[in-house]
Symmetry: C3
């Protein structure tokens, strides 16, 4: 039996036609079939690579990355995904470009895309901006393609916006699917997406929002826990609620970390900034109000410090299902006594889960590659089978 | 009939033997046949790409870029061109190198070129420096190749110097050739290369110089318009004059934007700094005279401000041929009311020409790829035909 | 006869099994057979390239570079080597990453390596740190591979640490092997590795240490010369002593440049900082003691200035073997009257040896590619022959 058979069979059972020539910005814009197609192709690409079979679908072409915030794993994941498919990464470093020199978003989007097959953007800092910017870029390159400026339509992949972090959350989902032995086994499992204390501040909301927006699709019991004042975007909570209803799971909120962790199968304790504070900060940045920003920072740190008890401790872990909930984190974590005095998680907890945490991260390149693949290839089943049949070595042995 | 036939036939009629293993620095160093060969191969490479046929001529090899000024479109155009032909781009970031640490140009040129097939340089800021630097690099890598340091001779492609901007102007030319339905139709067409007001200062002279040096080759009536004091390099004006005589066109100068635009088929309104100011600035930079530089900046801005009436307005556009002259710009433009209060062009004019402007820019990667191709391939006709026959997909469908 | 035959025959006579799936950090960790395997594969890869035969062994994959110090030639050599074998370079720019944000070395090492086949690190500034860091990274990625985070084990190649500069020294060795017509001809040749005056300070010790640690392997008479106070690491001197004994050569020390140069076949005059000063500086940096660093800098410059007579002059060159010793340098050199007033070498000496110096540098990409090749390919003889037989053009002609 061919390696690709099971993936092809799975894909045959799914409807994902609309992913062709499309973007990946928010998981809740995709049908469940489409999400499953992403998981399936990600696993298939991984299988090919493990078996040293080339999965290059491009002979030339560029993958453009634009990081408006520092990044290690997402940067290298995007580069890995592009390279795996045959695209060369070109980073748009805004500092080296003429963007400050009066270019519009429409103009820049087209000027960098003459031979771009994919554009990956990380823009997570300012509320109401990142996702909008990505949609603008997408609109303009589609227009450029229609007008004849661009011979191809570059696919937009969000590498984290102000609302969602789809490549992270899809990698997280791939991880738990593998840990629990199949997507069907997620039903009824309890996950605690919990705020946790950090001595730094202003961390994006996109991970907790992305998690409650995605994992409610699979019939899970998703609990969002945070201290009062650390609310996430209301719109995303409503999506989570709707998802849970449709999938036969649940979405609940609590101001108690203990309650969230109780009997949880999975815990995701992580710091984030209050949505309203991020909104305020976005306004202050827009006004260039440095004094305001500084005083907001102090406020936020003081607010965080009131919740030092929100830590993922050994004691708390013991209260989870059989004391063995799967611990998730998007990394890097603030580890008490290691990267900071007091942080999100006890060093011993983190250390016990280090291997699965690294594995969790290792799905990201495949998740990204899968998103690109499904946007570029009309008949993924046929192409996966063809790649296996061609059996070109990834590396000569 | 094969896709490549018409390009092969055209190339068969041209003499471009000397382009093999040669650089591309100034358009007026090339014969008219050679320029036509660049246009032809650019169109052929575009045709291959549109038809999803790989035009890789390199299996490995580096394309080195060195940008001494910020750049978006030229940077991505160079990267696109290299990638299209199979070269990987490596940027020589002088800040990260040891160049300050006592290396000579000869040494650096050789040390970065061990596996470099092409070196693209942008060095347009200082009068008398950029072009000279490129010639030095070219001389030294040829020497390195002859001496056995380098196994190949890296091709130098100017990505803009103090004198010419050949990749931009060749892309501009490709654009108007396409708009007017053939190079033969340019004869007798009037183009106004005109200074325009900008609230910034010190923009390079290489575009106006490049345009008058190139478009006078095709029998066009080229008018250079600018306020008194904004003269370009005298040597380039003489070249334009000589070109016009030889091609049966004309080259005239005026201090009136109105006169230049009157009945023009094409207009290219764009700001630039006076040649003598740029010379002065180059000296001041060499001396490290900060106070001098600052006071020159103020002078130049004040001088610009005296010519706010030099704008490409709707009124002025109406005076062009049938009120419909083709509007050109190398981008980004200073658009009145959009990127600045008062700038080079009315927003409504710019907006009406946005699509052709983007198309104009989209020729640049192909122009650069063509220059590299003609330097690297002894028998372009044979190789273009072979690429078509091989019919390797650029992207699996 | 096939091009690869002589290299295959040579490799057949060597035992280098342990290089497979291994790192290259210090030359003295390798057997003499293993060093000869590196030389042989480097020459074979060069032969293939000169004959326009592709030596790509990877269809996709990343080569990660991490430069903790500025670099031109090593950066481009690493990029060239990766490109030659089919790997795309991704630079880990620590400024753009989240490393400051609480990541451990273990975490970063894994997070950048999902699809990394090789990691090249330059970390030469701090005594006791660079080599240790590389070993940590290697340990962690091997662990990651064993744990299933990484599907492949990235090969570590030191691009210069605090102890050795193996890619430089192996390139230097390749150069002298070629100049003297074979590795067997190095026996009994005298090389002077000598300190030389420089107006800058704090240059790494890795080159002199690497040279005495490597060239004592080949039966050469290696003389280390420096003013009192400029001692190198004691451990490396002991290795040189042991090497010399084993290889039938000698290792001696002197505080006289004249003595070292006398009748030398090869001279390598180069500035470096005293080991104890580098240790002191490392401590000061660790403490963040800026005042201490500044005063140490002044001290070191003053100490250097006491030894301005340590220059490679024409007079000194006359005292070497037949007045014609081969002059080596890792470049860039401090050239008297050119890059500085008084420096390591007379301009006329440097100029006379410019061609061989550039050639010396040109071996570096092949040395690096060879190290990667031998780590990745179990049967180099078979693969080299196969590459020749496949005869894929590096560049279409």
């Amino acid at each position: 039996m061919a390696l690709m058979d099971k993936y092809v069979t799975k894909l045959d059972s799914l409807d994902f036609k609309k992913m062709y020539n499309n973007d990946f910005l928010l998981t809740w814009e995709k049908t469940k079939d489409e999400l499953e197609a992403v998981f399936t192709v990600a696993e298939a690409l991984k299988e090919l690579r493990v078996n040293n079979i080339s999965s290059k679908i491009f002979d030339s072409g560029l993958g453009i990355s634009l990081f408006r915030d520092n990044s290690t794993r997402t940067r290298f994941s995007f580069a890995s995904a592009c390279n795996l498919l045959g695209l060369e990464v070109q980073d748009l470093d805004e500092g080296k470009s003429q963007i400050a020199h009066g270019e519009t978003v429409r103009e820049t989007a087209n000027m960098i895309s003459f031979m771009a097959d994919v554009i990956g953007i990380r823009d997570d800092m300012y509320i109401g901006k990142g996702n909008t910017y990505m949609r603008d870029v997408s609109k303009y390159v589609q227009e450029g393609n229609a007008e004849g400026t661009l011979e191809q339509r570059p696919t937009l992949v969000s590498l984290q916006c102000d609302i969602d972090h789809p490549t992270q959350c899809m990698a997280d989902a791939l991880h738990i699917i593998n840990e629990f032995g199949g997507i069907e086994n997620l039903k009824g499992k309890k996950i605690a997406m919990s705020w946790a204390y950090s001595p730094s501040y202003g961390k994006p909301l996109s991970v907790p929002q992305g998690i409650i927006g995605l994992l409610t699709r699979f019939g899970m019991d998703v609990v969002l826990a945070h201290p009062e004042g650390y609310e996430v975007m209301n719109e995303v909570e409503e999506i989570a609620m709707k998802n849970a209803k449709e999938s036969g799971g649940s979405f609940t909120k609590t101001n108690s970390m203990e309650e969230a962790f109780k009997d949880a199968d999975i815990v995701y304790p992580k710091s984030w900034a209050p949505f309203i504070a991020m909104e305020k900060r976005t306004d202050l940045y827009a006004k260039g109000d440095k004094a305001g920003i500084n005083s907001l920072e102090k406020e936020l740190l003081a607010q965080n410090a009131e919740h030092k008890d929100w830590q993922c401790t050994e004691e708390l872990m013991k209260t989870t299902k059989d004391g063995k909930a799967l611990y998730l984190h998007c990394l890097p974590a603030d580890i008490s006594g290691l990267s900071c005095e007091v942080g999100e998680v006890d060093a011993s907890v983190f250390d016990r889960y280090r291997k699965p945490l690294y594995r969790e991260a290792s799905y990201k390149p495949y998740a990204i590659a899968s998103m690109i693949f499904l946007s570029k290839i009309k008949n993924p089943q046929g192409v996966l089978s063809m790649l296996e049949k061609n059996n070109k070595s990834r590396k000569i042995k």
